[in-house]
Each structure stands twice: as structure tokens, then as C-alpha cells.
């Protein structure tokens, strides 16, 4: 077997094992914590009889391990159960919201990735001079802000001081693509701000790291301009670390999206999760938590696979 293929298969298998372990933690770990689903639904005033009846109905009397496998088997077939609070089928509720989340995160990614790489290149080119200092200073500030704080600064600036945008992001089915884009403009700006800083700093570090190699010195000595050196010699060799940086930050978007959705009242997966944590609706929380974990793990595996593919030593073995 080709070594690249072997490594890739290994990574994918590792990802599957990890996902299985995470599902066990999310299900069995929660079971191990004090608390009782039946009690959570009926509240403190529940009688012993009604509690016992509900436990029977929800199958809570089965051992936890049995219930875990029943849940896992159903989840693999697309059946995530029904929400405790309103009895709505979880898979249907998630389906539409997941699309909205992907739309928001996708828009943020499309803007932030090219911007971060360009800024990173510029900062590396002028390393230690004023463009680098300005970019680094600004990104250091945004790194220190939690998403919701950044969001409210942006809201105040762009809806009150300069009234350009609407402070809520409502998206509903049947909206035209442009209307949707317009609606998510503010949340996208916030998300871009939040991931841009990390992405740009890591791109800069990756390029500066490559810039210390001997072949860069050779390229400089044969008279190439600094931008040519970066573009032709440093960038191709920095692609692997840059790609993994970009994808790791997209994974970071997964978390940022939860908070930003709540800030803007954007009807999507993150908002749905937080709502149901407040209502203590365990099946929903487990299902959505699993989806977020799966996306996060999937992106991490993707980053590994791409950096394996970008490594010429692995592609062309001796």
C-alpha cells in the first residue's frame, strides 16, 4: 500500500474511534453525573408514582450500557429521538437549523481565510516593521476578546454610531440568497474578526519559520525581490502548516458560532443547543453536542490528511 494512503486510512480510523469514544462520554458520562431525567422533566413536585411511571416509559430502568447501544444504533440510522420538552422529532429540528449554521460559518470562512493568509503574508514580509506591528497589535486585541464582547462592540459601532446594519439576523426559508447574505452580514463580521486573528498570527509564524531555511537565503542572494521569495519559495513550503492552521480555526468557528448565534438571535444549531441546555432537555443536548463534536473532529482529521498529502517526502518515498 502507498504510504500516504496508509497514513490517511490510519487517520480516518483513528477519527472513527475518537468519535465513538466521544459518543460514549457524552452518553455514559452524563449518566454517571448526579441527576435524573424523569425528575428533570416533572420537576421537584413530582410524586414517586409518576416518577416511576415516566422512568418506565422512557426506558430508564434498563442499564445505562444497554440504553447507550440502543441510542447509538438509532442515531446511526438517523433517529435521534424526540425532545423531552415539546416532543418534536430531533432529527427534523436539527436538519433545517444545521443548514443555517453552515451558511453562517461558510460565509465567515469564505471571507476570513483569504484575508488572513494575505495579512499573514504581508506581516511576514514586513516582519518587525510598522505594517507587521499594526497588524499584530490589532490581532492581539481581538484575541483577548470573547466572541460576545466583540459582537456587542461591533453591534454598537455598526448599528448605533454608524447605522448601516440591522442588529438582528433573521433567516427563514424562502428568503432569496441576497436577502440572506444581507441578514447575516453582522454575525459574519464578528466571526471573521474572531477567527481572523488566530489564523493570521499562525500563518505569519508558519512563514517566518520557513524563512529561516537555507534555500530562502539562496533565493535572496540570487537577487529575487522579497515578495517573490515569499511567494515562490516560502509559501509552497508553508502550505502544510497554513492549511492545518486554517482548518483548526474553522473548527474554532464551530464554537464561536454557538455564542454568535445567541447574540444575534439567529435561528440555528447553536441557539437550539443553548436553549435546550437551559430547559435541561438531555436528548437534544446529547444529539447537538454530538454533531458539534463530529464536525470538530472531522475538521481536525481533514487537517491531518491534507498535511500528509502536502508533504513531498511522503508522496514520493524513496
Amino acid at each position: 500500500m502507498h504510504p500516504v494512503l496508509k497514513l490517511v486510512v490510519q487517520r480516518l480510523a483513528l477519527g472513527l474511534v475518537l468519535l465513538l469514544a466521544v459518543s460514549a462520554v457524552i452518553f455514559l458520562g452524563i449518566e454517571a453525573l448526579p441527576g435524573d431525567t424523569a425528575q428533570a422533566i416533572l420537576g421537584q413536585a413530582a410524586t414517586e408514582v409518576s416518577l416511576a411511571n415516566l422512568r418506565e416509559k422512557l426506558g430508564l430502568n434498563e442499564p445505562a450500557l444497554t440504553r447507550y447501544f440502543v441510542w447509538l444504533w438509532a442515531a446511526l440510522h438517523g433517529d435521534l429521538g424526540v425532545a423531552l420538552t415539546n416532543g418534536v422529532d430531533i432529527a427534523t429540528a436539527i436538519g433545517q437549523r444545521f443548514g443555517n449554521t453552515l451558511f453562517l460559518a461558510g460565509c465567515a470562512a469564505v471571507i476570513s481565510v483569504p484575508l488572513a493568509i494575505t495579512l499573514g503574508l504581508v506581516a511576514a514580509r514586513y516582519n518587525g516593521r510598522w505594517p507587521d506591528k499594526v497588524i499584530s497589535g490589532l490581532t492581539l486585541t481581538t484575541i483577548s476578546l470573547p466572541e460576545f464582547v466583540a459582537a456587542y462592540f461591533v453591534i454598537f459601532l455598526l448599528t448605533q454610531v454608524f447605522p448601516i446594519f440591522q442588529p438582528v439576523a433573521m433567516v427563514f426559508p424562502g428568503m432569496s440568497f441576497w436577502a440572506k447574505l444581507n441578514a447575516v452580514a453582522l454575525p459574519v463580521i464578528v466571526l471573521v474578526m474572531v477567527v481572523l486573528a488566530h489564523m493570521m498570527r499562525m500563518t505569519r509564524a508558519a512563514i517566518l519559520n520557513v524563512m529561516q531555511s537555507a534555500y530562502i537565503e539562496t533565493a535572496e542572494l540570487k537577487g529575487l525581490t522579497p515578495m517573490q521569495v515569499i511567494w515562490r519559495h516560502a509559501f509552497p513550503n508553508a502550505i502544510a502548516p497554513i492549511v492545518s492552521v486554517v482548518i483548526l480555526n474553522l473548527a474554532y468557528l464551530v464554537v464561536g458560532v454557538v455564542v454568535v448565534e445567541v447574540v444575534f438571535g439567529y435561528n440555528a444549531l447553536g441557539q437550539y443547543l443553548v436553549d435546550h441546555v437551559t430547559k435541561r432537555d438531555l436528548p437534544v443536548v446529547q444529539a447537538v453536542g454530538m454533531i458539534f463534536a463530529a464536525v470538530y473532529i472531522g475538521l481536525n482529521i481533514l487537517a491531518d490528511v491534507i498535511s500528509i498529502g502536502a508533504n513531498p517526502r511522503l508522496r514520493h518515498p524513496k
Binding site: V22, G35, P146, V149, I155, Q160, V274, H276, V277, Q286
Partner: protein, 271 residues
């Protein structure tokens, strides 16, 4: 060595925040629950930073909120450090299967974003200070574990550790008397970063309504209470947001300085 301006600013701001938090009861002009003015008044001589959504003094609530925010963040980062570095050192000293088990558990915990884990856990546990500190501290201890294990790995192969083992010292002695003193400086810088992380974490949880519960308030919760005013141009929600940002940036400045000092002590890269 001369202290750079940014580090001095950071230390000054951080210590003022701590001072305000410690002496909140004496410094705050109003109580935390007292509605002493109109709804969302602007800054005035009686209410320095204005009033909030039900007329409580924002300045006083900021001081009390800072007390809770800093207390929770400090407690959870201390917990994260004691748990994380103890097990990290243990993994480095013992090696073998103990190291494998602990490292794989940490890998598993770090495979899911901590906010998601926290949300899942908080959906079953009661929301009180102890639970919040435990959850944030334990989730954060995974990062400390990785760092302290890596640092201790370098130290555990030193001759003096070998000598201590050979003269029959117990494991706790090796960890606390041989490794800990030599691993302290990178860990101190990391403590600053973990503290900021805890501040941002507790603020985010409170903002989502899953952290500190009313009538107590921390900064994140204050943003949540006052966020609706922003639409009408009332900037009350920005005050606690600004406080979070200022605390995070000032601790960051100090941590950066300590980090650069310790790396230059070792003659590391980038001078």
C-alpha cells in the same frame, strides 16, 4: 532587566482590578440589588457609569461583578493548575502505562471543544458556584496537563532527578522537590493565560444564561441583562464588556512579559 511599558501597564491594571474586587464591599457606592435610579440613565454625578435595565447602579455592579468573575476564574485556574500539573508531572515521572492512560484521556477530552462539553455537563448539573468552578477548572486542567507533562519530560531525564530516584526518594518528593521548582517559570506564564481563559469562559457561560445566576451578577451576566438597550442606543451593556476586555488584555500583557523573560533566560529563540 528593565520592565517594558506594556508590562507595567498590565501589572498596574491587573492590580487595580484585583484591588477593586477584594475591597468591593467598601468601595461600591450602592448595593448590588438596590434600584437607585431610573432605567438606563446616562452617566451622572450620582451614577458614574449610569444605571442598568432596572435602575441599578452600573459602577457598583461592575465592582461586585468583578469580584465574582475574578474569584471564579482564580479558583478554577488554581484547580486546573493543581490537578493538571500534578497529573502531568506524574505522567512524566512514571511513564509507561500510567502516562498512556492519562494522555489518552486528555486527548479524548480535548477532542471536543470545551464550551460544548461544558454545555452538555451543565444541562444535568445544578448551576451553582462550586459546579461552575469544578467544570471550568477540570476542563482547563487538560491544557495544563499537556504543558506540565512536556516540561517535566525534559526535566525528568536530568541527572539530579536520576540521583534522587537512585537514593530512594519517594515519587511525591521527586515531583514536588526536584521537578516542580525547575518547571515553575513556564508554568507561571501559563497561569496567566489559563486565568484569562477562565475569565472568558465564565463570562461566556453567564452570558448564555448558564453561569452565575441572578441576583448575583458577573460581567458576562451584566452584558446579557443590558443587551437589549443597545438597540435603543443605550450603551449600558458595553461597560461590563469593556471590563472583560480590559482585564483580559492587561493579564495578557503581564503573561507575555513573563513568557519572554523566561524564554530569554533559557537563551531560547528570538532573544
Amino acid at each position: 532587566m528593565k520592565m517594558p511599558f506594556s508590562a507595567m501597564l498590565g501589572i498596574f491594571l491587573t492590580s487595580s482590578f484585583v484591588f477593586l474586587a477584594v475591597f468591593a464591599q467598601f468601595l461600591a457606592p450602592y448595593s448590588i440589588t438596590e434600584a437607585s435610579g431610573g432605567v438606563w440613565e446616562g452617566p451622572s454625578a450620582t451614577h458614574w457609569l449610569g444605571t442598568d435595565t432596572i435602575g441599578r447602579d452600573i459602577f457598583s455592579r461592575l465592582i461586585y461583578g468583578g469580584q465574582i468573575t475574578i474569584f471564579v476564574a482564580l479558583a478554577s485556574s488554581v484547580l486546573a493548575f493543581s490537578v493538571g500539573s500534578f497529573f502531568g508531572f506524574m505522567a512524566a515521572v512514571r511513564g509507561g502505562w500510567a502516562d498512556q492512560i492519562m494522555s489518552r484521556i486528555v486527548d479524548l477530552m480535548m477532542a471536543i471543544p470545551s464550551l460544548i462539553v461544558a454545555l452538555v455537563i451543565l444541562s444535568v448539573l445544578p448551576l451553582n458556584l462550586t459546579v461552575l468552578i469544578l467544570v471550568i477548572g477540570l476542563l482547563d486542567s487538560t491544557r495544563v496537563f499537556r504543558l506540565s507533562r512536556a516540561v517535566a519530560m525534559d526535566i525528568a531525564v536530568m541527572d539530579y532527578v536520576e540521583a534522587a530516584k537512585l537514593r530512594g526518594e519517594r515519587q511525591t518528593w521527586v515531583i514536588f522537590r526536584e521537578i516542580l521548582p525547575n518547571a515553575l517559570s513556564p508554568l507561571v506564564a501559563e497561569f496567566g493565560l489559563r486565568f484569562i481563559f477562565a475569565v472568558l469562559f465564565i463570562s461566556t457561560l453567564s452570558f448564555l444564561g448558564l453561569g452565575i445566576q441572578p441576583p448575583l451578577a458577573d460581567w458576562g451576566g451584566m452584558v446579557k441583562e443590558n443587551k437589549d438597550g443597545l438597540v435603543y442606543g443605550k450603551s449600558a451593556a458595553l461597560m461590563p464588556a469593556f471590563a472583560i476586555a480590559a482585564l483580559a488584555i492587561s493579564v495578557n500583557l503581564v503573561a507575555d512579559w513573563i513568557l519572554s523573560r523566561t524564554t530569554s533566560l533559557k537563551g531560547g529563540r528570538g532573544g
